[in-house]
Amino acid sequence: MDSALKLRGVTKRFGAFTAVDDLTLTVPPGCIYGFLGQNGAGKTTTIRMVMSIFHQDQGAITVLGAEDAARVKDRLGYLPEEKGLYKKMKTSEIVAYFGKLKGMDRATANLKAKDLLTRYGLGDWLDKKCEAMSKGMGQKVQILGTIIHDPDLVILDEPFSGLDPVNRDVMRDTILDMKREGRTVIFSTHVMEQAEKLCDEMMMIHKGRLAFEGTVAQIKAGRDQGIRIEYDGDGAVLQQLPGLDRLNDDNKAAELFLQPGRDPQDALRWLVERLTIRSFDVREPSLHEVFVRTVEERDAALAAAAGGDR
């Protein structure tokens, strides 16, 4: 199997609206793969097609080597963005239920559910109802329900949203565990720092179309180098930096891009006079920057194309 997931020319329309437009991409097996994109860009629609919840209007989807995704449904794990649990069910029951729905036999599912919950620190909650749990615990139960049947491909839609740092770490470790066990993990996120740190490869979708695909290095290749600083003081002065092209100011840290031909050393000297600079680093742009730039570029291109049509 050369890919865990392959999409070729996949298109999905809802009435007049094209949610996913001619999407082609390949997810290699055994990696952590990121789906990036703005809200409404088509990430969830793509995921739903992969899970055969929706059917594409055009194109082909090959999941785990199968042309018909429905046939490998039991080898897939899916955690939707909007996560729900049966409030009245006990945690161990619901995790086992998800396992049974994936074709596990009763006894194995029951045993595995208890085992997983205990391993992930919910041993005291086996016989408690889901309604009694906090959001973080609920999320944990949901992810366990997603992976109880040892899926070969796990798709997580926004797995980190709404989690506190401790639970984020638990989620991250779970994802890493799955990769180590040889599974392929696809997750969608809006948090670029997370994607940058976790993903082996990623793709970005913009208004239904593929914007880029590849490893982080491949994606950043050819982009302007940026200056990242950490500082104290009034960041408003950053706007006045001579030769400044673009600025992402986070109040205590910032990412600066200079016009072509400008020397970062001149910028450093100028900055030191006005702010307390705690660190100064010239390097490739952050994924955040690449994302924002891509959206800007593609929006501009689309607007130009629409203008041209008129």
Binding site: M51, A70, K83, G84, Y86, K88
Partner: protein, 494 residues
């Protein structure tokens, strides 16, 4: 494939059946019905004794005779019922007083007025549980005559008496008082009944009946009509009710037959309530599942049609558990009733016999299933396009309106189980279960059962198909529920 449907069904079933409220709900219905049956009897029993007085404007002792006639009426009713009273009197250890009273009275013979009054007085001396055995007496035990002597009003003018009694009625000391006219042989316009309770007319009506009989007898005597002629003139027409057996022979109508005729109405009510409450369970459950976002997780493992079928069947099993429990109750009641109620159990016995009538019970269970499946498919489709219960209730309104028809048609259909209305409604699949249940006493011809059932089954299958299409699209929709036009569009497109 099928096993996943079963898993969903099993989960739905367990979730409902495992709750305490579910079982309380199941048990409370028969208990309520038993209570509703019992409460009427109890209310009658615990009704306060109504005290009344009588002022007689005339001078020929009409008041005293009226009082006797009024009481005798109950005893007459008692005799009509009371073959066992005769038997009681015939027993070795019978009360000598009763023996004396009934001596020389042939079974079935009409006792004289004097004997009846004596009977009444004898019964008054018996312990209350003994008295209550003779139902007729129960009614007049509710009324207590208070004589004017007791009230210290004897010897005053009728006008003063009426005034004083009026005061007592106003003070709630008396329930009512009667004023009997001065010359009933000539005119009846000065007969009055004074009470502040205008709804409970039993006392007045019974007294009117007693007085009518007396005045009529007096007038006949006054007109010197001989007894025989008088009896012939006064005779009333009463049809003897018969029905026809399958072979065309006339048979007597028993109380049981009437109950059997009307029993399907009860079953229709039950059917309606059962189908609705259980299909509604499915609706709320679907909306809930959709609003708490669990549906997408499920859809990653099962197909929408597996999910839909699983839910429908799971709730169907839930419904069958409820219905099954009720059927067991009905059969238990039928089995225990003779022991609890004595020989046949009277009218309650008929009712229980009708409830446990196997052909009714079988129709009930089968039509429940058919009706449920049909409405479940509609409701699950409605549930799938709604995000909140409120939206679902709005969409339910047209369905509910359609559903009032069998309830409205119920009485007509009972009166004419094989009439045109009944026949036409039988072929409207959404009404088939209710109408055919309603007609069970008819009963409809076998070919009608076959053809309407076939139509119902085909409709169920088509509805399932359509609901499946709506469900598949609707279940992942958020935002406003779609317009009917859009839903129809989904049906055509896919």
């Amino acid at each position: 494939m099928a096993s996943k449907t079963l898993l969903v069904a099993q989960r739905e079933y367990l979730e409902n059946v495992r709750t305490k409220t579910f079982w309380i709900g199941i048990f409370i219905v028969p208990v309520l019905i038993a209570a509703a049956m019992g409460v009427g009897v109890l209310l009658q029993k615990f009704k306060e004794v109504q005290r009344y007085a009588v002022v007689d404007l005339g001078d020929d002792g009409l008041a005293e005779r009226a009082e006797r006639e009024f009481r005798a009426k109950d005893v007459k009713a008692m005799f009509a019922l009371g073959a066992d009273l005769m038997a009681a009197a015939a027993a070795e250890d019978a009360d000598p007083a009763l023996k004396a009273l009934l001596s020389g009275l042939e079974p079935g013979a009409q006792p004289s007025g004097e004997q009846m009054y004596a009977m009444f007085q004898w019964l008054q001396t018996q312990p209350p549980d003994q008295v209550a055995r003779y139902e007729g007496i129960g009614n007049s035990a509710r009324y207590e005559h208070v004589s004017l002597d007791e009230l210290g009003l004897s010897g005053r003018t009728a006008e003063e008496q009426a005034k004083a009694l009026g005061k007592l009625v106003a003070d709630d000391e008396l329930f009512a008082f009667f004023v009997l006219g001065s010359d009933p042989l000539r005119a009846l316009d000065d007969f009055r009944y004074v009470s502040n309770n205008l709804t409970d007319a039993d006392l007045r009506e019974d007294y009117e009946d007693a007085l009518t009989a007396l005045v009529r007898a007096d007038r006949i005597e006054d007109a010197q009509v001989d007894d025989d002629t008088a009896r012939r003139i006064q005779e009333t027409v009463g049809f003897k009710q018969e029905k026809v057996s399958a072979s065309g022979e006339a048979e007597d109508v028993k109380g049981e037959d009437k109950v059997n005729q009307w029993a399907p109405v009860g079953f229709v009510y039950f059917l309606w309530i059962a189908i609705f409450s259980i299909a509604n369970l499915l609706l709320t459950n679907t909306v809930e599942e959709k609003s708490n976002r669990i549906i997408e997780v499920l859809l990653s493992s099962v197909s929408p049609s597996q999910l839909m079928h699983g839910k429908i069947f799971g709730i169907a099993f839930t419904g069958m558990t409820i219905i099954g429990t009720w059927v067991v109750f009905a059969l238990l009641a039928a089995w225990l009733a003779p022991a609890l109620l004595g020989d046949g159990g009277g009218s309650l016995g008929f009712l229980i016999a009708a409830i446990s009538n196997t052909s009714y019970l079988t129709s009930f269970v089968l039509y429940f299933l058919g009706g449920y499946l049909l409405y479940a498919a509609v409701l699950v489709a409605i549930g799938s396009v709604c995000n909140t219960l409120k939206e679902a209730q709005n969409l339910m309104q047209p369905v509910m309106t359609l559903l009032m028809v069998p309830l409205i048609a119920m009485v007509f259909i009972t009166k004419e189980p094989n009439g045109t209305v009944a026949k036409v409604l039988s072929y409207v699949p959404i009404y088939t279960p209710f109408t055919m249940m309603n007609r069970a006493a008819g009963p409809p011809e076998t070919w009608e059962y076959v053809s309407t059932s076939a139509l119902l089954v085909v409709t169920i299958l088509l509805t399932f198909k359509a609901a499946g299409k709506v469900f598949r699209v609707g279940v992942l929709m958020t935002g406003n529920p779609p317009k009917l036009k859009e839903i129809l569009g989904w049906l055509w497109r896919s």
